[in-house]
Every structure is written in C-alpha cells, then in structure tokens.
C-alpha cells in the first residue's frame, strides 16, 4: 500500500510539474508526432496500394494467361486456346455456359487532372460474365456498356483522377471514338482504375483479330486450379499458366509495396533516433530541473523505485501524446488521400492511402520505444542521484 501511494505521489508530482518545462516537453512531443506521422503516411501509402491491388483478386476466380507471362499486358491467347479452355474442367458452368470471360487489356491515353500530363490507362475488353465474376461491382451512374457498341464504363477512381470521363462524354483514343455510358465501383479495388468495354468491339478497333490476353474463370472448388493445369498439361496447344486472381494481384502489388516498406521503415527508424535524442535531452533536462525535489524526496524516505517510475511515466506520457498527435495528423491529412502511380502493367493504378489499425499499433510501438529508451537512462540517473545533495543548494 505504502509503495503504491509513494509511486502514485511521485508520478503525480512529475506529471504536475510538466508545465514548468512546457517548451522542452512540447518540442519532444512534436518530434515524436513527426516520426509517427512520417512513418504512418509512408506505410499508409503501401497499405493503400496493397489493399487496392492485392485486395482485388478473389480466391475462387482463376486468371489464365500464356505461360511465362507476368501480367495480362504481355500475355496472348488464341481463339483456339479460348475454345479449348471453354471445355476445361474445374470451371463452373451454368447450363452449358462456362462462367468464364476472355478478356483483352489495351493501353490507351488519358490526361491526369492534377498534372495535366498524358498517362497510360488500361482499357479492358470483356463480356458480361466478366462483370459478374468481379465481386462488389456496381454501376453507380449511367448504365453498363452494350455489346457491339463503342461504349465505355469507367471506374470511379479513373473518373476522379483523369479528365474527360464523365457519363455522356465522348472520348477519343487514337482513331477510335467512345461514348462514356456509366461509372462503376468495385469496392475500391484496382478495377476502379480501369475502363471497360465489350471485348468484341475492342478486338475489332484494335486489330486483335480473334485473340485475347487472358481468361477469367469461376472455379468450382479448391482443387480446380490443379484440374485446369492437368487438363492443359495433356494438351500441347494449351501453353498456359493458371493462378487465382488473389495470387496474381498479390504478386503484382508485392514489388511496389516492398519498395515503399523498404524506404518507410528505415526512414522511420532514422527519424526515431532523432526523436530519441530529443526525448533523452528533454528527460535529462527534467531530471536536472527537478534535482532538488528528487533528492529531498529521497532524503525524507522515498525510494529510488518511485523516482524511476515517475520519470518513466513522464517520458511515456510525452510518447503517448506524441503518438496521439501523429495519428490524428496522419488520419486527418492522409487517410483516404487519393494518389495514382504506374503499376506493374505500365498503366496508372489509383489508390487511397489507408491508415489501418496495424499501422497505428506499429507507430505506437515505435513511439513507446522512444519513450521507454528516452525515459530509462534519465530515470536511472534520477533514481541514483546522491541523497547527500539534499542539504546542498542544488
């Protein structure tokens, strides 16, 4: 009981005396908040990109491309291969109709609203089953494209970031002219960065003959991929690779996410070292400023432990307040911030920064480490201050 009272009293005194050192405390708090903000902002970019790309794929949908292709852009499937795949096992059928969508993936020009610069945009040619295979797709404005017409539906993110895609507008890609008939949403996934049109129209306008670049197919069970692979393995004409959409998009997002994380974490650590120096300085200043109080308490019988805890709590209070400020700033200024970048497919991918609970925990752990280390050594010094100084004018 006494040790509890003693520790609570010293801790309360320490915290109450903070206003006497308010500027040093504020500088430390801001330094910690900056570390938290920078770390979270960079990692929120990675998390947002990952969520947009890796979150797009389903585990029950296969993407089939030419063997060796890393992405749809450099894949190619002939009409003969498409016909053979229509007979493949492992694909869900409704009646005799395989739930599969042969698709084309073409790069077209767009203008980025924020910079006015020309960028590559993905135009996807697909059939109505392809739309159904993508979960959470809804037409939020206008209507779906009709087969056989030069009509586009535009992803929400693409419309937001790039000029000229409002419903009813006409866009020109090279010699082709398109009518924007609708806007679709796809749960914030990478598909929202795309433009969709009828596959046959895209084939015709871009001189693709009867060829496609990929097939999306709804799988009928957990071993469906193996069934398709076995089927293809028995037919030399089917030189293909099969993977789930989830795996495909995960691989697409990995390089950039790894790069951002590879920059983000070292940056955060370097900045944290700076903040740690600030915290140590603040806490040593605190101990020096309170030396007389500390040795007086020690002289009248207070133990070194309560002194140690008091200083540690002050450091942790600063770290906690810094974390809170950093999280608030990041949340207000970065969460949901829309950006776009060139993806693995050489087309623009629009994504939102995402402040996730995991990031808050990671930033909190880093700030806690700053508080713990920044408080530990000064607290140790405080606990070891010579009590004989009590009668000196320190």
């Amino acid at each position: 009981m006494a040790i509890w009272n003693e520790t609570v009293a010293v801790t309360a005194m320490t915290v109450k005396s903070l206003p006497q050192r308010i500027w040093v405390a504020i500088v430390t708090l801001i330094a910690i908040a900056i570390v938290v903000t920078v770390m979270m902002a960079v990692l929120a970019m990675a998390a947002g990109f990952d969520k947009t790309v890796a979150g797009a794929g389903g585990v029950d949908t296969a993407i089939i491309m030419r063997a060796g292709s890393q992405a749809e852009l450099n894949s190619g499937l002939s009409s003969e291969q498409i016909n053979l795949l229509a007979e493949a096992p492992g694909i869900v059928r409704v009646g005799n109709q395989p739930q599969a969508s042969p698709e084309l993936y073409v790069i077209v020009d767009g203008i980025k609203k924020s910079t006015g610069l020309s960028v590559n945009l993905p135009l996807r040619g697909m059939n109505p089953i392809g739309v159904e295979l993508r979960k959470d797709v809804v037409i939020s404005e206008g209507r779906m494209f009709e087969t056989g017409k030069n009509e586009l539906v535009v992803g929400r993110a693409a419309r937001q970031q790039f000029a000229g895609f409002d419903p009813g507008s006409t866009v020109q890609f090279g010699k082709t002219t398109w009518q924007v008939v609708g806007i679709f949403e796809a749960g914030g996934s990478v598909f929202e960065s795309e433009l969709w049109a009828d596959a046959k129209v895209v084939q015709s306008l871009y001189n693709r003959g009867n060829s496609y670049q990929s097939v999306r197919a709804l799988l009928d069970g957990p071993d469906a991929i193996q069934k398709i692979e076995a089927y293809a393995g028995n037919d030399p004409r089917l030189n293909i690779s099969v993977q789930t959409e989830a795996d495909y998009f995960s691989q697409l997002s990995k390089p950039l996410v790894s790069f951002i994380n590879g920059v983000g974490y070292p940056l955060a650590i370097v900045m944290a070292l700076g903040a740690l120096a600030g915290a140590l300085n603040a806490m040593y200043t605190s101990v020096a400023a309170r030396q007389r109080e500390i040795v007086t308490l020690r002289a009248i019988g207070f133990g070194g432990f309560s002194t140690f805890v008091g200083i540690m709590v002050e450091a942790l209070v600063l770290a906690f307040a810094g974390t809170l400020l950093g999280v608030m700033v990041t949340y207000i200024f970065f969460d949901g911030l829309t950006a776009s970048t060139l993806g693995q497919t050489f087309t623009q991918i629009v994504f939102d920064f995402s402040v996730t609970p995991e990031l808050v925990v990671q930033a909190g752990v880093l700030a806690l480490a700053i508080g713990l280390i920044g408080g530990f050594f000064p607290a140790l010094r405080a606990a070891r201050l010579p009590v004989v100084d009590a009668f000196r004018n320190v």
Binding site: S17, L297, G303, G304, V388, A390, R392
Partner: protein, 230 residues
C-alpha cells in the same frame, strides 16, 4: 533527571577522495547526543557540519566507525533500509525549505505519511495537526509560491514533524529569513523541543540562532573545539 543517549558516534572517520587527494572530514570522532537535546552546531565552512548532519540523518555513511541512533546501528544499513529508517525516525528541515512547488502546503506535509500504511482520513488528521502546531493551518491549500519564506519554512517544519520522528535535523533553517521571521522559526523549534520532546540538531552560522539551542558545539576541521552551554 536521567538523560538517555539517543545518538552515539563511535570512532567515526569520514574521508572523501577527489582525484589523487584524500580529504579527511572526521578522524575517530566519538560523541553522544542525549534524547531531548536541542543542539546547535557551529563552525566555519568546510568544518564538517553538514557532513555530520548527513551521517546523523542516514543520508551519508561514515568511512569507518559506528553510528547508533535510538539503539539502532545505521552505518551498516542498506540504502533501502536507510530510506525506511529515515522516513520513520528523522525529520529534515532545509535552508531553502525544499517544498514541492506543484503541491499545496497540506500535500507537502502529507508526503512522509505516504510512506506509512495510514489511510487517507488518518493522514488528513495528522496533516491538520501538524499544520496547527506550526500555526499555518489557514494556508493549507496554498502552494509554496503563494507563501512567504517564513510560511514556507513553517510548512517544511510541519512536514518534518508530521510522522512524529524523535530526531529533527535542520541545516541553516533561518539562513534565508529576515531576523523577525527567523526568531519565530527558532521559537517554534524551541517549542517542539521543550513541549513535544523532539531532539533537534541544528547547523547554523548564526550565533543569535544558536542561542535558542540548549547546547552549542563548535566544529573545526572535524573536531569539536569548544563547547558553550547556554
């Protein structure tokens, strides 16, 4: 009247080492202080007055020899045991009061009681009593910055007596006060000595202050050179 010895120093030596130099403060100092004494210790700077106070209060230890207070040897106690011993047995009064600026007078006085098992209401009673004894109960809720030097020293004295220790150690308790206030504080120490039986050891440079003590010892280079009884 039989006088019981409260403090015994037996062949106490105290040396400090600074670089290559060894500074000897006390060499084989032996002395006894009776319970209920009000002792003034005078002497020039560097004579060892404060070191003696530190040793008697268990905040410094002798290089050799033994220190016994109330029948308990304190020179060989651990740091933790000494902290507890000080909390229960010694009240300290400092020249610059050493109050906690962020606490009220009552909260400052309560500090030593936080080291006991007393509950909140019992602590409040003790604090009230101590503040009444030093005549500053009406300033209980004031912070040190809102009190005069004399009032702050009264609060410090209340803090020193609140846990009812037998021994009170004061280092220049009037060194920062004007003459009138100093006399008030010294009269209060006299009262605590005579009415409440506290053993008080006071270090001072001021012969006027020393006159309030029942006995004055002059310390020079670690030795008592002369004793003046009042």
């Amino acid at each position: 009247m039989t006088e019981k010895t409260l403090i015994e120093l037996d062949h106490v030596t105290k040396r400090y080492t600074r670089g290559r130099d060894t500074i000897e403060i006390f060499d084989e100092l032996t002395m006894g202080i009776e319970e209920g004494a009000f002792l003034a210790i005078m002497g020039p700077s560097g004579s060892g007055k404060t070191t003696l106070l530190n040793i008697l209060g268990g905040i410094d230890s002798p290089t050799s020899g033994s220190v016994t207070v109330g029948g308990q040897r304190i020179d060989n106690m651990s740091e933790g045991a000494l902290s507890k011993w000080r909390a229960a047995n010694v009240g300290f009064i400092f020249q610059f009061y050493n109050l906690m600026p962020m606490l009220t007078a009552a909260q400052n006085v309560e500090l030593p009681l936080l080291l006991t098992d007393l509950g909140r209401s019992r602590r409040a009673e003790h604090v009230k009593t101590a503040l009444n004894v030093v005549g500053i109960a009406d300033r209980a809720k004031h912070k040190p910055s809102e009190l005069s030097g004399g009032q702050q020293q009264r609060v410090a004295i209340a803090r020193a007596i609140v846990s009812d220790p037998k021994l009170m150690l004061a280092d220049e308790p009037t060194g920062d006060l004007d003459r009138t206030t100093a006399v008030e504080i010294l009269e209060m120490l006299q009262l605590l000595n005579k009415e409440f039986g506290k053993t008080i050891i006071m270090v001072t440079h001021d012969p006027e202050a020393a006159r309030f003590a029942s006995r004055t010892l002059h310390l020079d280079k670690g030795h008592f050179v002369q004793e003046a009884a009042e």
